[in-house]
Subunit: 335 residues, 2 copies
DNA sequence: CTGAAAGCGCTAACAT
DNA sequence: ATGTTAGCGCTTTCAG
């Protein structure tokens, strides 16, 4: 590999000069600048990022912590965030936590040694706030930027990007009610998932705001299973119990799909007998039959906010502590 | 941050000794070893990975290059590979190529400077072989391991992990034929996708092996659109043309879902009027209605092979140049 | 068995 | 405007 020193020798200048030219710092005479550039390109010089990281005390990688990347909405998020970081010439280090808190803290322990520029946590799981706050403090002390996505952690000093869950629930509820689907159930995981919990509170708040008879509505909690399977299971059970629910707000498109399958398998018509709204508005949802009506979780907006935070961090500006992303309804056939 | 030198001072030994203790190299008296360990844990010492990488000339990260991570099968792969690498205490750097060759080569240009341990390319796209071979050579010269997934690049000196596309096609075809669905079409992208092309050749080979009337079968090429949308579009067109095809082998579950939607939207019954087999056996496929019959692309087996390659590389062994992963049929309702 | 010292490739004072 | 030098934190000869 050709090093900066190789360039320096060949251009008959010191390594410092080459460094200055390449980083656009300090005054350099036009002639040397040109010569250095010339030699560097001729030699195909590329700065060693590892050495740079060591010297500067921070690198160009941002770690993205994901609860369950197999869930479509996180996948979409991962892609968008990677592209946003790429726009800042940053790399993405991916960690799938598999919904395990020990993995999260295991990572946070090692994080300071990795030469990271920052960490983005897109982790729905509820977690130990004290412990997290300690880690957050340590990372900040190292000059790293920690960002939370989907969970409101700004109280712990972690800039957060969250969705407006009340607005999202309102969109879903209004759609269901307008279609004559009532009463409603919220299908999801509220106990272990902070996102799910927030979404459920949004659901409740939206019902209240509408002056609706919230008591008629139910919470269909998913416990042991995940994604579509959980939806299928829980909705199937409820239907067998003879629930009166006619409209379901699911926490994800996968759960909605599972729920719809359960309803269809029991001979019900969707949305006539029971309607479903998903969350995420994933691509394939438009091609399920009936096509999924879904609350759009705007991954682009989230990625943009992430990019903005890292841009500000680079300019040594104070980061915006809370960004609220607005949802939208993708109205299709299932509700 | 506490450094190795801090530990050394506190334990009254030299930095070399600490390094040796922590890396289990060289002879160390039991007493010093214990003392060093003791001090290290007491101080909560964690080796700086960046410094380590610089010194050793290689790091602990493996880059995963993905054509389109939003496609379910790549997402499943990403998750598995990340977990496999984690088992080797390696980190995953993710790059979504968005089906763009320039991005691939752009990455490969920078790769040598990043202190990577290796690169895994899960890129279906056909690419410039010469150019790739040059990069492969350079990476190898740096001691990095380059691995291809889903595309047979072993001729270029790149250890490859591929699926047995003939076996996969046979599974799909046998299932369709047994259900009385005939003639067949292959739905996918064969022109720009090496994986798709291989899969189509597998389809043809399997037809031939079955002694079937291959001339009756069609290729439904997807050009401008992606995933479910492409399937919907192409199948819709074919149906409107009045095709005689009664069974479709799709290149992915998303395309199959789109195809099914097109058939249903035209009032056909699936699988009665036309049957579909997907590829990937994604989780949600089991909850689409009709549930997707699909050829399982064994992401676990691929991840395992990746792990094995990196393990061998670590032991400085020659890597296995070609690994062929066997498919399986997940039989559900759509065929 | 342990220590001293060099150096991975780069940047940033500090000189000149 | 440019060079000299120190050093980021670690591993690895080379000596003893």
């Amino acid at each position: 590999m050709v090093t900066l020193l190789d360039v320096a020798r060949r251009a008959r200048v010191s390594s410092a000069t080459v460094s200055r030219v390449l980083n656009g710092a300090g005054r350099i005479s036009e002639s040397t600048r040109r010569r250095v550039i010339e030699v560097a390109t001729h030699l195909g010089y590329q700065p060693n990022q590892v050495a740079k990281s060591l010297r500067l005390g921070r690198g160009r990688s941002v770690a993205l912590l994901i609860g369950d990347i197999e869930q479509g909405t996180y996948m979409a998020l991962t892609k968008r965030v990677q592209m946003a970081l790429q726009a800042l010439d940053l790399d993405l280090l991916l960690f799938n936590l598999d919904h395990r808190e020990d993995r999260l803290f295991g990572f946070l322990d090692r994080a300071p040694t990795m030469g990271l520029l920052g960490v983005v946590m897109a982790v729905p799981r509820r977690m130990d706030g004290r412990r997290l706050a300690r880690h957050a403090e340590q990372l900040r002390a190292q000059g790293m930027l920690l960002v939370a996505v989907g969970q409101r952690l700004n109280r712990l000093g972690v800039p957060s990007i969250v969705h407006d869950e009340v607005a999202g629930a309102e969109l879903a509820i209004d759609r269901l009610v307008a279609g004559g689907h009532w009463p409603l159930a919220y299908l999801g995981r509220t106990l272990t998932s902070a996102t799910g919990g927030a979404r459920y509170r949004g659901f409740r708040a939206a019902l209240a705001a509408r002056g609706a008879d919230a008591a008629a509505c139910e919470l269909w909690e998913c416990t042991d299973k995940y994604r579509a399977e959980a939806g299928y299971h829980v909705v199937g059970e409820a239907l067998r119990r003879g629930t009166h629910v006619r409209g379901v707000v699911a926490m994800s498109d996968e759960m909605a799909l599972g729920g719809i399958a359960a309803a269809l398998d029991q001979g019900l018509a969707v949305p006539r007998d029971i309607a479903f709204v998903g969350y995420g508005a994933l691509d394939w949802g438009g091609y399920a039959r009936p096509a999924l009506t879904s609350v759009l979780v705007n991954a682009d907006a989230v990625a943009e906010a992430v990019e903005e935070l890292f841009r500000a961090h680079r300019e040594a500006q104070e980061p915006r502590t809370l960004t609220i992303v607005q949802p939208a309804l993708v109205a299709r056939a299932s509700a």
